[in-house]
């Protein structure tokens, strides 16, 4: 009995001071949670506990902190701003890009930027829902309703048409800065409370998980602070902020992913991509992709007689091609799109051997279905940029208070133009999950709420990544029987209508699974 009394006294002295401080903080929070409390608290300062000084440092509290204000991060912010359940949220956006703070976001007279994205109809409808698509239509953009895919072997080709799925367009090619600027303009036109922090994330402190709290000696535990359920972010310019949810939208080399300890799997493709803008003499209304031995070359319409080139090749060739003079490069491009590396596939009904005539029996070729040669490139209209390509996937997208979207969660090969579309899908799915959580009063940092987002997006993303990786691997081998197999598959995709419709639907984002729907 005496021992317990003694222990109680010892603990009492340490804790009494602690609790008086706790009471003061409690009162402050009860009266007005939003005002910053400055100055020291009443109550004797304890030599044994280090005070966190949160209240005296005026650290701002946010509901959501989006680390990375690129296209996907801003898509999330825009989506939150557009829904009645979430538009009251207080959001911080952390990105050191000066473009976020400056207006206007881009100049209409600028030459076309080589960094473009192909947005699928599903993404277009998301943008329309949040009200951002109207800004894109005011700038350079190019809808396309046709697509042709063939390879260097000349054994097969396929043409996709939007009419096959009763749609008007297969997609739209837009410059990244136009996409980004439209999202920014969209947010500016709402009264969404956002604060932009133009700096980088340097460190992140997450609250301890319940299982890590133990009954260790009370003197070493931090005081029962009200910030224990919030994540703390420290930025490179010295600012700090507290938030319920940290969204990692900071790209393939995500710092949030690194700090939160998410594991990733993946590999680097031994390929680089060269991107540039080129000019034609005629309007280009079709998206072209030819698989060459070293990698595919894609020609995407951008509007105003411009097209974007994404050419994948091995690293040595990419450095050569970046440095060679412009005329040589243009000749190389035309060669790659035309007669270089192999013959044209023939488009006549009874050509190229008996082998491929059986699926075509009874099928008539319309004018739209004939093989066409892409329009000739006459001039290079921008600088050439080179990017290394890799596949990367985070094993988890969520943990308590942290969630990854976009390239931070998954990086893919550009061969099907799906990368940023997957990211936009993530952003809109996450905002919907957050809205559903708020509708039933949940704490948005809680894993059970966030897991719904992961359960929705992870399988879809993994399937898409598997398919894209499969394509990349299938087309990277030049082996006779495999070439024929590929060509047969391509033929099948071209002539078996249900399969073709399935593929187009899946690639447009209209369909969840590539087959069986």
């Amino acid at each position: 009995m005496q021992l317990t009394m003694f222990c109680t006294r010892v603990i009492a002295r340490k804790l009494y001071v602690n609790v008086s401080r706790l009471k003061v903080r409690h009162k402050h929070f009860c009266t007005d949670a939003a005002t910053r409390v400055s100055g020291s608290n009443c109550g004797q300062p304890s030599p044994e506990h280090k005070e966190t000084h949160d209240l005296s440092n005026n650290i701002q509290h946010y509901d959501i902190a989006i680390v990375g204000g690129g296209m996907v991060g801003m898509a999330l912010a825009c989506s939150l701003a557009s829904m009645p359940l979430t538009k009251h949220l207080n959001v911080a956006i952390i990105d050191s890009n000066p473009a976020l703070g400056s207006r206007p976001y881009f100049n209409k007279e600028d030459p076309p930027d080589p960094r473009v994205s192909t947005v699928t109809p599903a993404t277009i409808s998301f943008f329309k829902d949040v009200g951002a698509w109207q800004y894109i239509e005011q700038h350079r953009h190019a809808y396309f309703d046709k697509m042709q895919v063939w390879d260097y072997t000349g054994l097969g080709y396929t043409r996709y048409n939007a009419q096959d799925i009763n749609k008007e367009v297969l997609g739209c090619v837009v410059e990244n800065k136009v996409l980004h600027g439209s999202l920014l303009s969209c947010i500016e036109n709402t009264d969404f409370q956002k604060t932009i922090y133009p700096s980088k994330l340097s460190s992140m402190t997450l609250p301890p998980s319940p299982s890590s709290l133990g009954m260790d000696s009370t003197s070493s535990r931090p005081p029962l602070s009200s910030q224990r359920h919030l994540a703390k972010l420290e930025l490179s310019d010295g600012n700090s902020l507290y938030t319920k949810l940290v969204v990692g939208a900071d790209g393939g080399k995500s710092r949030v992913r690194e700090l939160a300890g998410f594991k990733t799997t993946g590999w680097n493709y031994s390929q680089n991509a060269i991107i540039c803008t080129v000019e034609h003499t005629v309007e280009n209304g079709c998206a072209w992709q030819r698989f060459l031995p070293a990698g595919p070359i894609a020609l995407l319409p951008m509007g105003d007689n411009f097209s974007n080139i994404v050419w994948t090749m091995n690293p040595k060739e990419s450095t050569n091609r970046k440095l060679m003079n412009e005329d040589e490069f243009v000749k190389d491009v035309n060669n790659a799109l035309d007669y270089g590396y192999g013959p044209h596939p023939t488009s006549s009904l009874f050509g190229s051997g008996e082998m491929f005539s059986w699926p075509r029996a009874g099928v008539t070729l319309s004018a739209n279905d004939c093989f066409e040669v892409p329009p000739k490139v006459v001039k290079l209209a921008s600088e050439r940029m080179v990017f290394p390509l890799s596949l990367r996937h985070a094993s988890d997208y969520v943990s308590k208070h942290v969630v990854l979207i976009g390239d931070a969660a998954h990086t893919v090969h550009p061969l099907a133009g799906q990368g940023v579309n997957m990211g936009f899908g993530d952003a809109f799915a996450l905002s919907r999950v957050i809205a559903e959580g708020i509708a039933v009063g949940s704490d948005i940092g809680e894993v059970t709420v966030l897991k719904k987002y992961e359960a929705e997006r992870k399988p879809a993303n993994i399937m898409m990544m598997g398919i894209l990786d499969g394509f990349q691997k299938a087309y990277s081998v030049d082996f006779g029987p495999l070439n024929i197999l590929r060509a047969a598959a391509l033929h099948g995709a071209h002539f078996i209508s249900p399969l073709k419709r399935s593929i187009i639907s899946y690639a447009s984002g209209e369909q969840k699974l590539p087959l069986f729907t």
Binding site: A12, V19, L85, S211, S226, H229
Partner: protein, 304 residues
């Protein structure tokens, strides 16, 4: 898993160590401002009865000791993967029903983030506050009551972490005592309580007395059917170990008809009823018309 079980037994040990005394509750109630001091003083003198010189210093020290102890245990209740996981998984579904019925009854827009602004709600049998906190986040003025002292302590600690939920008032008391205090609420919610009560009819009369005329009463419980015996007792307690054995007595379950009848006798007209269905494939609960096992009832108090 072993560590979680260890902490659970700690909870049980704690409840026996600190005796819950009815005596303590009334001063706490009548003098809410002075309550914390006198409350902890009494508790201290009960636990360490030999000491008569316990002054202010020691009284608050025991409260701090309890706070410190309960701090880590509170997380077990709020550990979403811990022993209370089934309740956490079911919670959003219950809240969806509450949100839709109360918004319709009080004519509030469900698409606002805080539709329950200005509505006074009492959560009878609040436990650790799993229902009270989301209701507070939806804007309601929430009072949580529970007969078990340790639950109230846990609920208080967790609610104080977030400024939005720290406005919840928690009392360790019963519905009958609240009626004696002549408290009235716009909505009275008692989820998964009535099957543990000795006299359900009297309990419903108390709930009705707490509701203002034309106020809302929401009760959820488990049906008394063969199917519920198989799922809620055999499967949940003995096979899946979702609940400790003996949590529920099948004979004290109420059928929907019985519940509607006793509510009617208590002047509450049942307006809507729904069932909860668990899908083992997705691991999620959903609202449905199937009231064979878990069901929830929304009623309004007749205006006299």
């Amino acid at each position: 898993m072993a560590s979680k079980l260890g902490r659970y037994s700690h909870l049980r040990a704690l409840s026996s160590a600190i005796s819950i005394n009815n005596h303590i509750r009334s001063p706490h109630f009548s003098n809410p401002n002075r309550a914390p001091l006198s409350f902890s003083y009494r508790l201290f003198s009960n636990a360490f009865s030999s000491s008569s010189t316990g002054g202010f210093q020691r009284a608050s020290s025991l409260k701090d000791l309890e706070l410190a102890k309960f701090a880590s245990i509170a997380e077990t209740w709020w550990d979403f993967e811990g022993p209370f996981k089934p309740l956490h998984v079911m919670n959003p579904t219950r809240l969806a029903f509450i949100r839709s019925t109360l918004c319709r009854h009080f004519d509030k827009d469900p698409n606002r983030a805080r539709p329950f602004e200005g509505i006074k709600i009492v959560d009878v049998g609040c436990g650790g506050g799993i229902l009270s906190e989301p209701l507070a986040r939806m804007g309601a003025t929430v009072t949580g009551v529970d007969a078990v002292e340790k639950n109230i302590k846990i609920a208080r600690i967790h609610a104080d972490l977030d400024p939005v939920t720290s406005t919840i008032e928690y009392y360790c008391t019963t519905a009958e005592k609240l009626v004696e205090e002549d408290r009235k609420f716009d909505a009275v919610i008692a989820l998964e309580v009535i099957e543990h009560v000795a006299n359900p009819a009297e309990f419903c009369k108390s709930l009705a007395a707490l509701t203002v005329p034309d106020g809302a009463t929401i009760i959820s419980t488990i049906n008394r059917s063969m199917r519920s015996y198989a799922t809620a007792i055999v499967a949940a307690e003995y096979l899946l170990h979702w609940l400790p054995k003996g949590t529920h007595e099948w004979s004290s379950f109420l059928t929907p008809e019985e519940l509607v009848l006793i509510l009617q006798r208590a002047n509450i007209t049942v307006r809507e009823m729904a069932g909860f269905v668990y899908s083992p494939l997705t691991g999620r609960w959903s609202l449905s018309d199937d009231i064979r096992v878990n069901f929830i009832v929304f009623g309004t108090k007749n205006c006299q």
